[in-house]
């Protein structure tokens, strides 16, 4: 038997006609989205895309490498403040600033990754938690960061205005296209990385670090690398988030946010790039949109407010979000540990080659 296979098929992004078809359909949908959506919804989509970038990065650390971080809001903050301050104070172009801020976050990720060589599970969780809280407080103290009052993001000009090459993105829709392109690049990049030697080394560390080491994987290099890459993603996401919000303060990047990020990847599916994309989309949508107006829904809203007042709080539906997220988490852990990605796999089995 001398059938020469093309092994590139195994690692290709568009591994079949079906995948290519649906990817193109998705791209067309995403790039024409502003035609059908209200400006509020575009704003929501911007936040979703920012969270997608962050969740994909967090999943590299948690889902692929098996480490934990309760401090990703800290890297997110470094990205947001870093990008804005590099642009306003040093006058650097947007792309230089956001990449530099991402690299600063990556450097902090590397530092946080060092103790991960010895710390595991709860101890690592505490160490990263400490990092997140420290960043929040340092930013709150220093005037250059605007202190507790927060800072205003500069105008989002993605050209080099000093050279007369101005490209001002002065609307949510224009910003949407920028964020969409960056998100697509980051998602495909992550997916590629995970298909190569780097991703396999991460997975090896997650599944059996002793066997990984015995096969030649340097734990120090790859654990710190995973933290650094993950933090870079958080930093870039943060850089974009600053512009989406327009204004932010230290409390934008609180502990709850770090936990919500973890919820995104657990709900979406640990160890799956696509899972992180789905989880970030669903949780952001629930947080910002669906749950926000739930008390205005006919009948159900009144019932929920009554229920919440009776059993949880006096102020109505304040903590409805947390309760819903908690229930979703429970449901996922009990019924589908692979998260939305697991559900997706099962659906895909039925539709394997449709529409061909």
């Amino acid at each position: 038997m001398d059938m020469k296979r093309d092994y590139y098929e195994d690692i290709e992004v568009f591994s079949s006609g079906t995948v290519l078809f649906w990817s193109i359909a998705l791209f067309v949908f995403l790039f024409t989205l502003p035609l059908y959506l209200s400006s509020y919804n575009i704003y929501l989509f911007n936040i979703i895309l920012v969270h997608v970038i962050l969740a994909v990065g967090l999943n590299i650390l948690v889902g692929y490498t098996g480490q934990i971080s309760l401090g990703h809001a800290g890297f997110f903050a470094i990205g947001a403040y870093g990008t804005a301050l590099l642009m306003t104070h040093l006058g650097l172009p947007f792309f230089v600033s956001i990449i530099a801020a991402g690299l600063i976050a990556a450097f902090f990720g590397f530092i946080i990754g060092l103790p991960a060589l010895r710390l595991e599970g709860p101890y690592l969780a505490i160490a990263t938690l400490g990092f997140g809280l420290t960043i929040m407080h340092i930013i709150g103290r220093w005037d250059i960061f605007g202190g507790r009052m927060g800072i205003q993001a500069p105008p989002l000009d993605i050209g080099i205005p000093q050279w007369g090459l101005s490209a001002l993105l002065d609307s949510d829709v224009k910003m949407y296209y920028l964020i969409l392109v960056i998100a697509i690049v980051m998602v495909i990049g992550a997916r590629n990385m995970m298909k190569t030697r780097i991703g396999r080394a991460f997975v090896a560390i997650r599944d059996d670090d002793i066997a990984a080491e015995v096969m030649g994987v340097n734990l120090l290099t790859f654990k710190t690398l995973s933290f650094a890459v993950s933090a870079f993603y958080a930093g870039v996401a943060g850089g974009l988030f600053g512009f989406v919000l327009g204004f932010f303060d230290p409390f934008t990047f609180n502990l709850i946010l770090s936990i919500i990020f973890l919820v995104m990847i657990v709900v979406g599916g640990l160890g799956s790039v696509l899972g992180a994309v789905m989880g970030a989309s669903l949780i952001t949508y629930l947080q910002y949109d669906l749950l926000k107006n739930v008390d205005e829904m006919p009948y159900l809203g009144d019932a929920l407010v009554w229920f919440s007042r009776k059993f949880f709080t006096v102020i109505g539906l304040e903590n409805f979000n947390s309760i819903m997220l908690g229930l979703i988490m429970l449901g996922i852990v009990i019924f589908e540990p692979l998260g939305m990605f697991g559900i997706w796999i099962r659906i895909k089995k039925y539709w394997k080659t449709w529409p061909f």
Partner: protein, 269 residues
Amino acid sequence: MAHFKVENIGISFGGIRAVQGVSFDVRQNSIFSIIGPNGSGKTTIFNMISGIYKPDSGRVVLDGENLTGLSPDRIARRGVARTFQNIQLFGNATVMDNLMLGRHIHMKTGVLSGFFMLGKWTPCAREEVRHREVVEHIVDFLDLQSVRDQFVSGLPYGKRKLVELGRALALEPKILLLDEPSAGMNTEEKDDLRIWIKDIQEDYRVTILLIEHDMNMVMGISDRILAINQGLKIIEGTPAEVQKHPDVIAAYLGEEDIDAHDQEHRDMV
């Protein structure tokens, strides 16, 4: 100069002297077996060779280079690969990914070139394809085509043992440590394994260190055998010499003890 040399190696765990001053030389491309009752320190010797434990005393030397005290990943890069007594695979990855991890030390892809793997012609994709071809030979050799893309955690015991062997082979080691490779296999699988080990010695030109309880296999394929008991060397020699040694017979080659070992393995499976 000996190809591979263990000199006076020893280690204690909280007062228990697990291995006490064991020495042996291994000729290039030979099969060298270590036998001894359970708990006699065989796996501990492997753990010291591969760097998981740091020996309290002694040295491990491969082709004149001292490996003692190096980290396991450095030792792997010097050409030492191994399997584990209780299989240690990457359970939530496919057979192919497990084998590809064996190529880790031969590959160079970094974060950036991995990130920008945008087409067949990119350096990263070319490297990936080249190494997949190498691994595909191992898949064929060990007859793993049927499970190539399956997750390891779902495979039967015998197949997982083979995947682990394949992963170690993929590293293209100079020296391969096999810790009870036939444990839990049926007679048929054991026969196949024996042929594979012989083939690995001949085709891949690898030096093999083998810990094995199946005396038929050990006596049949070993060039030399080291017998240890309670961390101490009893004798080292050819299968014929070792078989005759009264202490070896007393320690565990007696009829009853062989049965006991077999029983134990049946219990484990």
